[in-house]
Symmetry: C2
Subunit: 122 residues, 2 copies
Amino acid sequence: MKIFRYEDVKALEVDGAPGVTIRWVINEKTGAPNFAMRVFEVRPGAATPYHRHWYEQEMFILEGTGLAVGADGEEPLEPGKVLFVLPYDWHQIKNTGSTTMRFICVIPLRPPQEEKGGETRC
Amino acid sequence: MKIFRYEDVKALEVDGAPGVTIRWVINEKTGAPNFAMRVFEVRPGAATPYHRHWYEQEMFILEGTGLAVGADGEEPLEPGKVLFVLPYDWHQIKNTGSTTMRFICVIPLRPPQEEKGGETRC
């Protein structure tokens, strides 16, 4: 069993998303065989790109307030909200509040049948 | 994209673990193809069983304080702690505080190569 604080993992800038960082808190390097847990931080006024990709995302909002933007419109986000993004769903997370938004996002480590996806995994 | 509050999913008692509940916030019924997100709540003084199983767990402590018990001893838990439980690692979560402990726990939906595991998935 490995136990540590999420802040012990370095926060990396996300390409194409100023004001957004990612910490890969559990991934292949930790020994994970199937899926990775990441912690994102989004500064007030910042947002992830409006994008989609081959993999699903299982997300949980920890702190802050904002909006989830999808093909069907916008939904408010606050701590305790769960988001399930299906493969190829369009999505974006916007911080519309005055404090840092922080959320967990879990994704598979590899495509089904090793199919290759070309996108950045954010 | 599906968005809802974690409390919208029914909390179920966990067999053999009085004072512990589980919410399967994302699973096959939500449309998840690979892994499930659950939210556990542990009452003060309660604990999960000391147990192990074929699948890994990726966990994040949301609220409360307690201990993670493993083969190498105990480690304190508080919000922001990340736990990675490898397949077949012994583990237990104890709430030693005075408030409900709440954590996220993500697990694979099926064994590698459809091997069957017989344990309760908690």
